[in-house]
Symmetry: C2
DNA sequence: ATATGTGAACCTGTTCACAGCT
DNA sequence: AGCTGTGAACAGGTTCACATAT
């Protein structure tokens, strides 16, 4: 029902807002001003108000935003009202860490399957799921009715695995493999390369240090 | 010697360029055109050329860019000519995965210390390093002369740990803890929240699915 | 002929500043 | 008085299109 599409930068900030609102709620706060919340999240108050205005979040002038109402509204926009089912492909160290990561269930993601190729890993139980062989990828996706996949394979297997995930009907992929994967326009991919992130931090850190 | 400061979006893309160039080099390619490389990385050719022009990367018209030269140039800009020392604070599943992540050494990061509070973890050896207790954080940073830290503590410990890292002289922090940390202006922080990343993917995936 | 380098146009997102509610 | 909501100004980054070099 949102008429105007949300700026993607706004979308990217919403999970952070939700996180901070959760903290406020657990502290018993009923309302919060844009100044307070912005400070908590680390954005400018104007930015926050603009973002919330896209949602049509009704803050009350002179008062602020109602914490619970805002939480519900953001959760709704982020699609958390429906359960999203998730598979993880590649149960190495990172895949294992992600499988046992508690932050997903809190965000209404349900882990429905784990897949790997390593015979030493296939058949073991991780996070309550028996790891299935990659040859069964399509069945795992279908049986679990997964719509989202986390890709933590080696770079060499990433594109091929992504192709199979797409063919199996997945509509979103979070790719940790250090290789860009190409997918059709109707599938969303988000690339997260941990090595790149570290390089970006290091670049800016060095620049800052050099300035003094 | 870079006169114009690089746009931060350009900096964020450089590691990806470098990665693809490494692939090309190992395939024996000597030169590469902006069309080829852009396609490989997943950006537009104009974008790539503009980025490289900031570096003063001398491509030859009618030919393209020299693969090895470009690699060296980007590596230099990213500060890879000097070794950067790294500590990881919080050796849970994610910290463990990052400690054993091979992608860091390739990028001229040297892991010099691991820290945790859990008595079950302190004293164990991970990735060739004995995990030290968090009370020794300052010594670990000093002994290793670390300039960069990866933060993978629980949210509750994140800010306090960041403060101590900054006081110990770290100039860059890659924060995986699901809480924004505040640092002085002369320290670089990059927030990576895996739960948020998944929510962002899911949002766009749902939007794309709904369109058909 | 082919492919780079780049000013200019364009677009997206951020900040400002103040009108408008409560 | 206090705080939101938002048009307008601004900033930053991307794309275009073509001059330029090999």
């Amino acid at each position: 029902m949102t008429v105007r599409p949300l700026p993607s930068t706004t979308v990217a900030r919403l999970p952070g807002y939700l996180r901070s609102l959760g903290g406020l709620a657990s502290e018993g706060a009923h309302t919060v001003s844009s100044d307070q919340l912005a400070d908590l999240v680390g954005v400018s108050p104007a930015q926050l108000r603009k973002d919330l205005s896209y949602l049509g979040a009704g803050g009350r002038r002179g008062v602020g935003y109602e914490v619970d109402g805002l939480r519900r509204q953001i959760a709704q926009v982020l699609g958390m009202t429906e359960e999203r089912r998730l598979v993880i492909v590649g149960i190495g160290n990172l895949g294992h860490a992600l499988a046992t990561y508690s932050g997903f269930a809190d965000r209404s993601f349900e882990l429905v399957g784990l897949v790997d190729t390593d015979p030493a890993v296939v058949g073991t139980t991780v996070a309550g799921h028996v790891v299935r062989h990659a040859s069964e990828l399509e069945q795992v996706v279908a049986e679990g009715a997964a719509t989202i996949a986390i890709l933590t394979t080696p770079a060499s297997a990433a594109q091929q695995t992504a192709d199979r995930l797409v063919a199996a009907g997945v509509s979103g992929i979070l790719n940790f493999a250090p290789r860009t994967v190409r997918v059709p326009d109707d599938v969303e991919v988000r690339e997260v390369d941990l090595g790149s992130e570290l390089q970006i931090v290091a670049f800016h850190a060095r620049r800052l240090s050099a300035e003094n």
